[in-house]
Symmetry: C2
Subunit: 391 residues, 2 copies
């Protein structure tokens, strides 16, 4: 017999991908009695289901809305997204099946195996998986309170390194919570122009600011920026509508790759998103409501951390997004997790987000998915877990 024993062996690209510890963990912590600070889901009860249902019923009654569309997406939705982003030109916008697909297609369209790609440390795990799947040479720079470590990046560039891409989550970083400062954005854009790399400005959370002032996007400072966004956090994840905006040359390349990747997005979903983004009076009210709720939740979480764990835990006050990044000096949070689940609370240990640096004392706490009293109870349980794990 000639049977190739490893006929189901993974490709080198797949073998290079680290599974998402978060998603694996989520499976373990999906017990009804565990309060989860681990997930990355927006608040289910704040999804505007009534408005979406009304729109879904009306739009899908037209069979044309249920047909295939073109790979770049329904034109009226590209226009609506361009308006939403304050841009004029829909030809610079391509609609994707969530912004994760935008990142995946972008990397596959532009990055060769061995190309250098710079990410933050801690990293958005979905970005790490993408760059691993194209077998890039990934370097992770420890994120600073100003965002991307542009000092170290500049030193690398001056030493002759030539990255293909630099990826960051620009607003309310997942998991680090940091927002890239204006000065760092300008410097990153300047370096991109000078050294010819592409900045991937991954921005799913920007609209979820509940305190402080918006910062101009990195894309405002350079033409070498591809900006990613999504309807998932402001409307609903199941619409699966994300987008990229950037140079039309890049958009056209991604469009070609997308033909083979999945042909096109959902006409139906894109028409719904176009309608909801264009209804700016409704959208502003809805987003303001989500912001208010998230502010309450963020405050509830950090107040509880102060109250229950003050002195033992370090964190900064979130200004938006869904995550609080914290550190408990002297505690290995991966080991703490077992006690935490026993105590009825889950979080994601920092090690899940580390590439080169050590985040074993850190943890990511999501405040979006639980109401204030749930958050307080979750932190109370975390304190119990910490107590029992210290014994």
């Amino acid at each position: 017999m000639f049977v190739v024993e490893n006929s189901f062996a993974p490709s080198d690209a797949l073998a290079n991908i680290r599974g998402s510890a978060i998603r694996d963990l989520l499976k373990l912590t999906e017990q009804p009695d565990v309060l989860s600070l681990a997930g990355g889901l927006p608040a289910t009860e704040l999804i505007p289901a009534e408005r979406i249902s009304e729109s879904a019923a009306r739009i899908s009654a037209d069979p044309q809305a249920l047909q295939y569309t073109v790979s770049a997406g329904v034109y009226s939705c590209r226009e609506a997204v361009a308006r939403y982003l304050g841009a004029d030109d829909p030809s610079g916008v391509l609609l994707t099946h969530g912004s994760q697909q935008a990142l995946f297609l972008l990397a596959h369209a532009l990055v060769n195996p061995g190309d250098l790609v710079i990410v933050d440390d801690p990293v958005y795990v979905g970005a790490l998986q993408v760059f691993q799947s194209v077998r890039a040479r990934v370097r992770a720079l420890p994120i600073t309170p100003s965002g991307v470590d542009v000092e170290t990046l500049r030193e690398m560039l001056e030493a002759g390194e030539r990255p293909r891409m630099v990826h960051t989550v620009s607003n309310f970083h997942n998991p680090a919570g940091v927002t890239v400062t204006a000065a760092t954005r300008i410097e990153l854009a300047r370096l991109a122009d000078r050294y010819g790399f592409i900045v991937v400005e991954d921005d799913p959370y920007g609209r979820l600011r509940f305190s402080g002032a918006d910062v101009e996007p990195i894309a405002a400072h350079s033409d070498r920026v591809v900006r990613l966004g999504s309807a998932s956090k402001i409307l609903a994840p199941a619409l699966r509508v994300g987008w990229m905006s950037g140079p039309s040359g890049v958009i056209e390349m991604v469009e070609l790759l997308r033909q083979g990747a999945d042909l096109c997005g959902s006409t139906f979903s894109q028409l719904m998103v176009a309608e909801l983004l264009d209804d700016s009076a409704w959208l502003d009210t809805h987003v303001a409501h989500v912001q208010t709720e998230y502010r309450l939740r963020a405050t509830a979480l950090t107040s509880a951390l102060e109250c229950e764990l003050g002195g033992r835990i370090q964190f900064s006050q979130p200004e938006g997004g869904m995550f609080c990044w914290a550190r408990i000096p002297g505690v290995d949070t991966s080991r703490l997790l077992a006690d935490a689940v026993t105590a009825g609370v889950a979080f994601v240990p920092g090690a899940a987000f580390g590439v080169e640096a050590d985040f074993s004392e850190c943890l990511r706490l999501s405040f979006s998915a639980l109401p204030p009293d749930g958050l307080h109870e979750a932190v109370r349980r975390l304190a119990i877990a910490l107590e029992s794990s210290s014994n």
Copy 2:
């Protein structure tokens, strides 16, 4: 200045993809006065919009249906697809964003650059693009009236070639119209078991049989088969729900890759598909209606070809699906297309589907998207184009 001039250069993977001439052509022929036999769209007016709209309104009213789901898909929909396929085990089913995505993920999970992949000639262009995007070594075997050319394949295998995958559209081939015979399926499965390759049984059209008898799937004869299917042709393309069924080891690998590719599908869409597939009384009636209409259309097309072009054109009578593959000896159909569009009709020239063989005298005619009188008029215009191009 250090600017890398080609900072927007495509990756080697992207540079290796041939654009879909069909999609490019479709853009050119999208004129209101052109009757198109070129598209690959199901009949818009046969999409069950009323039923889908009712389901969409009800399902999306629950915000839980608008949340993220797991990468393999909503479990109840995996169960419904397993039942639809006559299988017991939903763990062997993974839901994708259309079956094109299933093929893309499968190839990226299992094929390395340089691996040999066998496709049909003429080829389903979406499959060629996928295998080009993983930089496979693609060999195309001229399709026979029995489907995959298993004789030549066996000779290649005996000569020592070891393909990683063999891809075919098993029922009502796009574009060749052929259905793989039972004997060829059995032989292909035997060769897969003996030589350790994976058969990709791409089957979006199987349910659209309007004449003749169903043939048992290739997957019935070997465990080395990954079968792809879709709700696009029986329900609606914009649902973007496809699936793969196969060995659980393969499913798990694709699930990991999918985390990075786009996280997950649409909970909402998958819940709708689960409901519609499970409503088998309604589904059977709906599909029977589509089959009847497609039979009328296929007959209208071939009658018109006989009537208007008899003696000049060769084709076989479709038994299902959406396409009629034809040949006009002595005519270069790529050159004919310009005259055809002038005469108000579009088709896809055979050359668009050729990999190694010469299909310059062939053309793909879709009968799904026009009613019978439209098809007759389209063929009349084709005859005019042929007349004027002969002059």
